[in-house]
Amino acid sequence: MIVPPEFIVGCILLLAGVIFTAYPREKTYLTRLINMEVAEFGLVFIMLSFNETLALVTFVAVNVVTTLIFVRVIEKKEGA
């Protein structure tokens, strides 16, 4: 069984993104938010390797809404 290269890249990005989201180099909300985006792209790569078109479109579209909500939450948290 041959493993597609996007699956390996996706696994590397997902694992590294999750680890660096949990233990970032600078412990700020913004750093964690941007590191979480890297893990999201890793998940996009893994879904790409399984040929899930509809899941890809939905996940990418919902990601932007999630980012907007996180930005609003962090704004309120840092403003207080």
Binding site: P5, E6, V9, I12, L13, A16, G17, F20, R25, E26, L30, T31, L33, I34, N35, E37, V38, F41, G42, V44, F45, L48, T53, L56, V57, V60, A61, N63, V64, T67, L68, V71, I74, E75, E78
Partner: protein
Amino acid sequence: MTDLILILAIFLALFGGIAALLVRSAFDKLICLGILTAGVVLFLVEKGYLDVAIVVSLLMPVGTIFILLLLGKKQEAAK
């Protein structure tokens, strides 16, 4: 020819992702995230998912603008 595009996409995605994780400044992180997005779009086009490539290309700048909205208020992020 196709292998060259694949190698280029792997290079862009891996280096953009690792650099976005390791770099300290938030603006540099956003720029490295753009490199990672370029790798993703190249992978999608190479596999033939042009509709997903359209969605990623249209929506990722919107997310970057949202993060930039948060970043403009922080004074210490500019250093």
